[in-house]
């Protein structure tokens, strides 16, 4: 325990003669012997754990509030969309359905004619392609496809956000 003064002399001597490694070693002993670490209160650990727990609880509450907000918003938006856009959506869906039906009929008729007249497979495929192009070119059908894609992307983003909130609250 009484090493500090002896090492003090050693440190100063090493420092004077620029022996860096010796000075480094001797000063470590001087420092650790002459300057004990300040005592930490007994309550420190308890207080710190309580503070961390409070932060964790606060974060979890915030994540839960955020999740409830997102769900409420999504439910309200869905209700409003259904209320205001139901007629439009039905008309779009029926246009898409009719377009699909037309394509199917055109395909079947084209196939039957080709079978009767004995034309090749390429002619059947050509008539099917024409029917598909006619379906895609219909503005109502195009809009319906875009709307369905947008709803799917929004649903995916909402799902990802909800899962992210779960992760944060877990941490």
């Amino acid at each position: 325990m009484n090493e500090a003064p002896g090492n003090y002399e050693r440190w100063r001597a090493a420092e004077e003669s620029d022996r860096d490694d010796d000075a480094d070693w001797a000063f470590r002993t001087v420092f650790q012997t002459a300057m004990p670490e300040p005592p930490v209160s007994r309550e420190f650990t308890t207080r710190t754990m309580a503070a961390v727990a409070a932060v964790a609880a606060g974060d979890a509450r915030r994540a839960r509030r955020q999740r409830v907000g997102v769900l409420t918003g999504a439910a309200a938006a869905t209700t409003a969309a259904v209320y205001f856009g139901a007629g439009w959506a039905v008309s779009l869906a029926s246009a898409a359905f009719i377009g699909l039906l037309n394509m199917l009929v055109a395909g079947v008729v084209g196939g039957a004619v080709a079978f009767q007249t004995g034309t090749g497979v390429w002619s059947v495929l050509l008539s099917l392609g024409r029917a598909a192009a006619a379906l895609a070119a219909d503005s109502n059908v195009t809009f319906a496809l875009i709307a369905i894609s947008a709803v799917a992307v929004a649903a995916l983003l909402a799902l990802q956000r909800l899962l992210g909130s779960d992760g944060e609250s877990f941490q």
Binding site: E15, D24, T48
Partner: protein, 159 residues
């Protein structure tokens, strides 16, 4: 960690609060921790930044001034050459603490990290946000400066 903060800020009373703040910050930013590095270095870095922020918030440091005053008062009367006496060891500790308070905050942190927490120069560099060579230089210069300050306060080198 409490010790590092206490030595950087010179305020032992506040050190525990700042250490607590450090742990809360670490908990909040746990996702940002690079698992390839040492947890202690990361915590020391947050503690160092927290201490520096606290010092900026409250510039006048009463404890440091008190230590400085004590060292000035002691310099009037040259101290005896250090012997194997616990009282002298305590006096050396006080003189060293006063000298430590005179250093620049980055040098002070480097000294504490090196000689109290036993960090390598590389780790000190990552805590202080400087290259290893700069950390080594901080420690070297701080030690030289401590020697100079101790001489000025009567703790002359052996002849």
């Amino acid at each position: 960690m409490v010790s590092l903060i206490a030595r950087i800020t010179g305020d032992r009373a506040q050190a525990e609060d700042l250490a607590q703040e450090t742990f809360v910050k670490a908990f909040r930013n746990l996702a940002a921790f690079d698992t390839t590095r040492r947890l202690s270095s990361w915590l020391f870095r947050i503690a160092h930044n927290t201490a520096i922020d606290a010092m900026r918030r409250s510039r006048p440091r009463a404890a440091m001034d008190a230590a400085h005053n004590a060292s000035s008062a002691g310099s009037d009367e040259p101290a005896a050459p250090p012997g194997p006496d616990p009282v002298e060891r305590q006096e050396l500790g006080r003189a060293l603490e006063a000298a430590l308070a005179e250093l620049r905050s980055d040098q002070r942190a480097a000294i504490v990290l090196r000689y109290e927490n036993g960090l390598s120069f590389d780790e000190i560099g990552s805590v202080l946000g400087v290259p290893e060579a700069t950390a080594r230089s901080h420690v070297h210069r701080a030690r030289k400066e401590l020697a100079r300050l101790l001489t000025a306060s009567g703790w002359a080198p052996p002849r």
